[in-house]
């Protein structure tokens, strides 16, 4: 579903990504972790071409992302993305947040879009909030709306960039629960997260990045069980102990 082949990226002379190669198969859940500044966000943003890269290739559902002929809006519409800071549109009601892209990008009628949006809102447990604005919801609620907004586009896969790291601890689980449910339904997911409980529960593979490179790319059992690179060990020890 997602194939990342030898991707390298530079900001000026600073290399953010070094020869990254990995793939996510259909219905697979891959967790990406690593220290701050290691390039996790950059890598995941390359997948739907929010960030350009200079070398390598990324193929999503058979379409080459870096190909200048690729219709990027059309590709991105099929790839759901959830951000650390939710990024709901503050001036729209929750209903409009859920409907706008369905209407403007997919060409659905307003009734159809609202209907679909409200169904998904119900699924993330927020039906009562439909008429509110994002600023009137808690962080956890906003993030659940953001997930529903992405799902409303009927994505073929979902990208998550630290979806819980801007949340107060008591709200983390309500968001993770939605993600676990998605994983169980067979959604293809690439998740940047340090929630190792989530990784243990649903991940098929775990990728560890450091200084722009993929240092470790292993099945979940191997990643949590057996010896591997020292840097990954040290990182794991640190985040599991706090």
């Amino acid at each position: 579903m997602i194939e990342i082949n030898n991707v390298s990226k530079w900001y000026g002379s600073f290399q953010v990504l070094t020869d990254c190669t990995t793939q996510v198969s259909k219905s697979e859940v891959v967790v990406v972790c690593g220290p701050s500044g290691s390039g996790k966000s950059t890598l995941i943003k390359c997948v739907n071409a929010l960030e350009p890269f200079q070398q390598g290739s990324i193929v999503v559902n058979g379409i080459a992302v870096q190909d200048p002929k690729t219709d990027l809006p059309k590709l991105r519409a099929k790839v759901g993305m959830v951000f650390q800071n939710f990024e709901l549109f503050p001036h729209m009601t929750i209903t409009d947040n859920l409907a706008i892209a369905q209407i403007k990008v997919l060409g659905r009628s307003r009734d159809e879009a609202v209907d679909k949006g409200l169904k998904l809102l119900d699924r993330v447990g927020l039906k009562a909030q439909a008429a509110k604005f994002p600023g009137q919801l808690s962080g956890g609620q906003q993030q659940r709306v953001a997930i529903a907004r992405a799902l409303a586009m009927d994505p073929i896969c979902m990208l998550f960039d630290e979806p819980t790291s801007a949340l107060d601890p008591e709200m983390i689980n309500e968001v993770l629960d939605v993600m676990v449910q998605l994983a169980h339904e067979g959604m293809t997911m690439m998740c940047v997260t340090h929630e190792m409980g989530f990784a243990r529960k649903v991940a098929n593979r775990v990728i560890f990045m450091d200084r722009g490179a993929i240092v470790e790319d292993a099945a979940k059992e191997d990643f949590f069980g057996q010896p591997r690179s020292e840097r990954a060990q040290a990182f794991l020890a640190k985040i599991l102990n706090h």
Partner: protein, 245 residues
């Protein structure tokens, strides 16, 4: 003080058969018309320029920056003279002739004042867009919006809300700035003011009345935009006013 107050002079007849208050009303009409028309020009062009300066396309940014630098740093009156006297000489002869003979004065005045104010509005709009998080654009793009759609549906609606206080003061300023157009022959309020002072000796009365006219225009604009601000306020959101500079 032995100034002779005479408020009734406004009802005296002038040389052209009208009354002095007719002159004032006519000036007020022109001031309002030229100002509002310029404001429309400035809002449209200023928004386009402001957006251009926030795009990832370098040449668009450069073009927008150059415009703002030029039009913000040349005095308004010089710009008006340029449109009236310099530009017609620089363009092809038949266009120049048309500008000098057929194009109504007020059109050139409106374009001049509009283009000047557009530079200032472009600055506000750019500041508003840049005050939004980069993530808003990413979120729009990730949903499949084109770059333009992220402006249309995501970024501009918030940017305008954020800079509305700054835009309000620009909109109030434009009435004051429109007084400069008397220099290129627009018979607006300041022109009538000068004319009445020359014809009568009632300097205080006419100054008070004209001042009041400008005050009322600015005040009404302020109230209208305050209403717009209240109507577009987003529940649950505290917006900063980073925009004003």
């Amino acid at each position: 003080m032995n100034y002779h107050w005479d408020w009734m002079f406004f009802f005296q007849e002038t040389d052209d058969g009208l009354k002095y208050y007719d002159w004032i009303l006519s000036g007020l009409g022109w001031t309002t018309f030229v100002s509002l028309a310029s404001l429309v020009v400035a809002l449209i062009l200023g928004s386009v320029l402001g957006v251009m300066r926030t795009t990832p396309k370098r040449w668009l940014v450069g073009l927008g920056d150059a415009y703002v630098d030029l039009f913000r740093n040349v005095p308004l009156i010089v710009q008006l003279f340029m449109w009236f006297f310099v530009v017609p000489e620089l363009v092809p002869e038949n266009i120049g002739l048309w500008m000098k003979q057929d194009l109504p004065y007020f059109v050139i005045a409106i374009v001049g004042l509009g283009l000047y104010t557009a530079a200032r509005i472009a600055e506000q709009v750019k500041a508003g867009i840049n005050s939004l998080s980069r993530g808003q654009r990413f979120a729009g793009l990730a949903l499949g919006f084109t770059e333009w759609q992220t402006y249309r549906y995501v970024r501009l609606p918030m940017a305008y809300r954020i800079v509305l206080p700054a835009l309000t003061s620009e909109a109030m300023n434009i009435f004051k700035n429109s007084a400069v157009t008397y220099a290129v022959g627009i018979l607006e309020l300041y022109f009538q003011y000068k004319q009445i002072i020359e014809k009568t000796s009632q300097v205080l009365e006419i100054t008070i009345v004209v001042t009041l006219c400008y005050f009322v225009l600015a005040f009404v604009m302020n109230r209208i935009l305050a209403f717009v601000e209240a109507r577009t306020r987003v529940p649950g959101l505290i917006v900063g006013t980073k925009g004003s500079k």
